[in-house]
């Protein structure tokens, strides 16, 4: 395995009496697409939320690109270089598509109250750069012509794309996607797959939660499988397909 982009180990997370995650870890090599699968309620999204700072883990070590990072708050994680999307789309509904992506630039820009009110040269240049970059990203995900539309009036597939563009605007080293293909039809899934490959080719590592096994098998370099908050398998897709524990987890012991 080449250099690691993400190296997480020993994550425990308990909600009251429920042990949601037990000693879960994941290693992602630079430039790969890694999938995280598991039956419903296996703890995939919990693990995701821990990685991105939305939940506080009880234990665990976290390393991004060789440097430890602390998932103590979501904005710090975004600053460190992990951007995410949400299982149920969370766009800024009343803002335009372009503005949504411009918000993504927040963490990489710095003008404050003074710059906003006086709009001096540096502030103007920054604002123009934000706008240009946001438009570029909209074009990149293929919805460049919808920049002026209010986000919540976009079609479902385009909203998913917009969320990805917004995440990319934070200049992530790792892009974490929570079920990006949920609710998409076959054509949309194919287009999504192309987009993910394009993002990978742009040098961004991807962590992916997805239910669509066909999509995952063709797309992912490696796959990790969670069940009842424990990691039960890890490997290249072909191995996972044959793994007895995985088959049992999905289909039950009789098979």
């Amino acid at each position: 395995m080449s250099e690691l982009m993400l190296n997480i180990a020993g994550v425990n997370k308990r909600f009251g009496g429920l042990q949601a995650l037990t000693e879960v870890g994941i290693k992602i090599a630079k430039g790969q697409i890694v999938g995280l699968i598991g039956p419903n309620g296996a703890g995939k999204t919990t693990f995701f939320n821990v990685i991105t700072g939305l939940y506080q883990p009880d234990t665990g070590t976290f390393e991004l690109d060789g440097k430890p990072y602390s998932p103590s708050a979501p904005h710090k994680v975004a600053q460190a270089g992990i951007a995410r999307t949400f299982q149920n789309i969370r766009l800024f509904g009343e803002m335009t598509a372009l503005e949504n992506v411009m918000v993504g630039r927040h963490v990489r820009t710095r003008q404050g109250v003074f710059g906003a009110i006086f709009r001096h040269g540096a502030a103007r240049r920054e604002e123009a750069a934000i706008r240009a970059r946001a438009q570029e990203l909209l074009d990149f995900v293929g919805i460049g012509q919808f920049g002026n539309r209010t986000a919540r009036y976009l079609s479902y597939g385009d909203q998913r794309r917009l969320e990805i563009a917004r995440a990319l605007a934070t200049e992530p080293r790792l892009l974490a996607l929570d079920e990006p293909a949920a609710g998409m039809n076959a054509t949309e899934k194919l287009a999504l797959r192309e987009l993910l490959v394009k993002i990978k080719d742009a040098g961004i590592t991807i962590l992916l939660i997805e239910h669509d096994v066909k999509l995952m098998m063709g797309l992912c370099d490696r796959i990790s499988v969670l069940e009842y908050g424990k990691l039960i398998a890890e490997g290249v897709p072909a191995e996972i397909q044959k793994n007895q524990a995985v088959i049992e987890a999905y289909l039950g012991g009789a098979y």
Binding site: L54, P74, A78, T96, G104, R105, T109, G112
Partner: protein, 405 residues
């Protein structure tokens, strides 16, 4: 609203023309209104202060989506700050300090000079305005800090409590050290003096201000000052709205978790919204105190907070021209009613059947209900942004219906 548009992004020429027309009308207004009596100009003076308040509150409620029911507290902070630092009140404060602890009193005298014993402190407007803004901003952050994790109803309750706390403090902070003079309020606050010209007019001038030999009524002088401050406020808030910070505020309003995940430090950005909003309230409060010459806790009741919130909501939450219109309507209309209703009844029936104050409350309530029912986004909401062909979708639906039937 078809004639006037302020959508500078999409119709720049039309909106700058609208602004010019409106500004010209505003500049001429006091001279026309003065023909009908100074009280009309006075009404608009107060309306302008309320517009400043509404614009400040709009940052918190409109942009950042944080429901604040105690906003008038910042108005009170600005007003009382002016009362303390631009009136004889500081002499009373010093007296109580001396009674309490002579050493502390001596220290204050040593710090500010012997004259404060009899005359108090009289800061100039140039110190008062920034100070009022800063102190109110500080109070804004103080209020914001404990409410960071609260949303919606809970936030509203806490801010409401904060507003009441400030008012109760104003009522009771006269003992052992007399800061606010309690329920009696602070009197004899200095009028605003700009470059040596008092906007209240010099003694014996019958409230006429002479600027370069030309005399204008005092209310007109204040009118121009408040108009200027309003324009500055509009300018600042609209610049803030269309900036990196403004986008962060709206992002928090739309989805706080997503905003966090995009790397926005929601704690700092929310505190900034509270502070910025409060600072405009503080400056308006300072102007109010100097304009009235008197402040008392009664002026800062919950009703006032609600009135300012109503201006924002009724005008068009988050939309600056709408908020300004809401401010004009709700601040000026009641006063206009007061001047019109009773004489009209007198003329019609020979006696006053419904008092203006009662009618005002009635109409106020009725208007709010009707507007919320029919125009929930406010009278003048933000223009719809998307280039979605609204008419076309309607047509498609109709066609589908036609096919179905």
């Amino acid at each position: 609203m078809a004639l006037l548009t302020f959508d500078t992004a999409h119709k720049p020429r039309q909106s700058y023309a609208s602004m010019a027309v409106l500004l010209a009308a505003m500049l001429v207004f006091p001279f026309v209104a003065a023909q009908f009596g100074n009280s009309w100009v006075r009404i608009i003076d107060m309306a302008l202060l309320y517009i400043m308040l509404a614009l400040g509150l709009n940052i918190v409620v409109g942009f950042a989506g944080l429901l604040d029911l105690g906003y008038i507290a910042f108005f009170a902070v600005g007003a009382y700050l002016t009362g303390l630092l631009a009136s004889p009140q500081f002499a009373a404060l010093l007296e109580s300090v001396v009674n309490y602890s002579p050493a502390m009193g001596d220290a204050l005298v040593a710090l500010f000079g012997e004259s404060i014993r009899t005359e108090g402190i009289h800061l100039s407007v140039w110190a008062i305005v920034p100070l009022a803004g800063l102190v109110a901003a500080l109070f804004g952050a103080l209020l914001g800090a404990p409410t960071l994790k609260l949303r919606g109803d809970y936030l509203a309750i806490v801010t409401l409590g904060f507003g009441e706390i400030i008012r109760i403090f104003m009522n009771n902070l006269n003992d052992p050290i007399n800061f606010t003079n309690g329920p009696q309020g602070i009197n004899l606050i200095d009028p605003i003096r700009i470059f040596g010209v008092s906007l209240a007019g010099e003694a014996g001038s019958k409230a006429t201000v002479f600027i370069g030999g030309v005399g204008i009524p005092s209310v007109n002088a204040y009118y121009f000052l408040f108009l200027l401050l309003c324009i500055v406020t509009i300018f600042m808030t609209s610049r803030l709205q269309h900036s990196r910070l403004g986008r962060a505020w709206v992002a928090i309003r739309e989805d706080e978790i997503a905003a966090k995940a995009m790397g926005i430090n929601t704690r700092n950005v929310k505190l900034l919204a509270f502070s910025m909003g409060a600072s405009f309230g503080g400056v308006a409060g300072a102007m109010f105190a100097a304009f009235q010459g008197f402040v008392s806790p009664e002026s800062f009741s919950l009703t006032e907070s609600i009135a300012v919130l109503a201006m924002v909501v009724l005008g068009g939450i988050g939309h600056i021209p709408g908020v300004v219109m809401g401010g004009v309507l709700l601040a000026a209309l009641p006063e206009v009613l007061r001047h019109v209703v009773e004489p009209a009844q007198q003329a019609l029936f020979g006696k006053v059947i419904i008092e203006a104050e009662v009618l005002r409350q009635l109409l106020y309530g009725l208007a709010m209900v009707l507007i919320m029912l029919n125009r929930p986004a406010g009278l003048w909401p933000s223009p719809i942004k998307e280039d979605r062909p609204v008419a076309a979708t309607d047509k498609d639906e109709k066609e589908e219906e036609a096919v179905a039937s």
